[in-house]
């Protein structure tokens, strides 16, 4: 479904992703794990058109979307739930959710809004409040729901657990598992490697802008190098 080939990403003269290739098949949940600064988030941003691709290609459902503009990529069916939640702080919860459906013109948007609030009852409770007044965990739920409102074909999650209390992190992962069970194709970037590997079908391990290991999540979880470096065993 999504295929990256020899992708390089640079910020000015500094290259942060040095030619990576990865694939996500429809219905799959793929995790990108690795240390801070390994190039995982930059990879996601390059897919979404937020940072330019230096060289290499991004293919989505057979179409080349390398360096397409951000809004065109969303219309193609790729939605990202960004790092740090990035809700629209002064807009209400409902307005944030409706922004998620910005590219849609169908009549099911209201029904989807109801479904999101069934899935996240806290959002129904807070629907008229400004998103900026919500707690971190609530904002994460809002960001996830907002991403789903686009009815994406693939949903990218960038560090969904970052900066949240352990209890909230667990509930974020429960939510992701729920979304996975709905059949959503997921590409997840996460520093919490254990949680990510528990959720994902497959994973890629990033180190300094390169992919150094890939395979089924179960295998990576029991690989001695991964255990030592990332899982704290």
């Amino acid at each position: 479904m999504l295929a990256l080939r020899d992708l390089r990403v640079n910020y000015g003269a500094i290259e942060v992703v040095h030619g990576i290739s990865l694939d996500v098949a429809a219905g799959e949940c793929v995790a990108l794990i690795g240390a801070n600064g390994a190039g995982k988030s930059s990879t996601l941003k390059a897919i979404c058109g937020l940072v330019p691709v230096g060289s290499g290609s991004v293919q989505f459902e057979g179409r080349d979307i390398t360096n397409a503009s951000g809004h065109a990529i969303v219309r193609a069916g790729i939605t990202m739930c960004p790092e740090g939640r990035q809700v629209f702080p002064q807009m209400s919860v409902i307005q944030n959710l409706r922004m998620g459906a910005y590219t849609r013109t169908d009549k099911d948007q209201d029904a989807d809004l109801g479904r999101m609030m069934d899935m996240f009852p806290i959002l129904r409770e807070r629907q008229t409040q400004a998103a900026g007044k919500l707690s971190g965990g609530e904002q994460e739920m809002l960001a996830i729901a907002r991403a789903l409102m686009a009815r994406p074909r693939i949903c990218l999650f960038d560090e969904p657990s970052l900066g949240l209390a352990p209890k909230i992190v667990a509930s974020v992962f429960e939510t992701l598992a729920q979304i996975k069970a709905m059949g959503m194709t997921i590409l997840l970037v996460e520093q919490n490697s254990m949680m990510a590997l528990n959720l994902a079908d497959r994973a890629y391990l990033f180190e300094a802008g390169r992919i150094v290991m890939e395979g089924p999540a179960k295998e990576l979880k029991s690989h001695p190098d991964v255990m030592r470096a990332y899982l704290g065993h």
Binding site: C48, G49, L50, S69, G70, H71, V74, R75, T79, M80, P82, Q86, V87, F88, P89, Q90, M91, Q95, R98, M99, G100, Y102, T103, R146, A147, A150
Partner: protein, 287 residues
């Protein structure tokens, strides 16, 4: 005394409406692009001049000239965005600042070349005066107040109720997140400049009909517009509305009770006092 206050309040509402329309344009542009669009006043007055020209030289009825001027304002806004501000969008903010100053001088020059240095008043033919109790209200002033309310309400509805309006807010609040929602961030500034300039032109027409337009008037209004933004709270729509109304009424009351020569001084003194107590503006959020 009470009648006099009421009288000046109504006068103030008319001029306040002009301030609000100018400030709404400025605050929307500032919110999206982070630029202080100084040329806004001169461009607004261009709209007033254009209406005057259409009515006096082309013999159009005022009601026909106004929509033409509003559409011309919209197109002019698009041009300003594409030609003046788009090239410096990714540059340092000081570049946009210099462009804004240059544009102000250019538009002032164009106004002077096209319409001359004489002050002009748009002939509306509305000369009836209503007397309610002891308060005299020229009918023109009532129409101006109503038009301002309608335009402000339309703008609020547009921003709150339409997808495009919500996208404008979204870009102002978080540009990257707006891109991730599928908002085309290249077309939003165009829409913003088009609408803002149209609102400005409406204000220019009001100034031309209520008072008079002359070279330099536009700069005065843009300064007032920014003052309104700061008074109301930067980036706040309700703040701009409240700020403009308060400034208009303060000025009128100052002119009526003290001296019209000091009305600006008094208005700014009131503004400074408000900001001393509420540095974030009347409806601004505390930092």
């Amino acid at each position: 005394m009470l009648i006099e206050i009421l009288q000046q309040t109504i006068n103030g509402l008319a001029i306040g409406g002009v301030y609000v329309l100018i400030a709404l344009g400025l605050t929307t542009v500032f919110g999206i692009l982070g630029i202080a669009h100084f040329a806004h006043g001169s461009v607004s007055m261009f709209g007033g001049y254009l209406t005057f020209f259409l009515v006096t030289s082309q013999g159009l009825p005022v009601l026909a000239a106004i929509p033409i001027a509003l559409v011309a304002g919209f197109v002019l806004g698009l041009l300003i965005e594409i030609v003046a501000y788009r090239p410096v969008r990714h540059a340092n903010h000081i570049n946009a600042f210099i462009v804004a100053l240059g544009l102000t001088m250019m538009v002032e020059g164009i106004n002077l070349q096209l319409f001359g240095h004489e002050q002009i008043v748009i002939p509306t033919g509305l000369s009836k005066v209503f007397r309610l109790g002891g308060v005299t209200v020229p009918e023109l002033r009532i129409y101006v107040i109503i038009a301002a309310i309608v335009l402000v309400a339309a703008m609020m509805l547009f921003v709150e109720r339409t997808k495009t309006g919500q996208a404008i807010r979204a870009v102002a609040e978080n540009r990257d997140a707006a891109i991730l929602m599928g908002v085309n961030v290249n077309s939003i500034p165009l829409i913003v400049f088009g609408i803002s300039t149209s609102l400005g032109v409406a204000a220019g027409i009001m100034v031309g009909a209520l008072f008079a337009i002359a070279p330099g008037i536009g700069e005065g209004f843009v300064v007032k517009g920014f003052a309104v933004l700061i008074l109301g709270g930067l980036g706040s729509f309700p703040g701009a509305i409240l700020g403009g109304t308060v400034l208009g009424i303060t000025e009128s009351i100052a002119a009526g009770f003290i001296s019209s020569a000091y009305k600006d001084v008094i208005a700014f003194v009131v503004m400074i006092l408000v900001l001393l107590i509420r540095p974030q503006g009347l409806l601004g959020r505390s930092p």
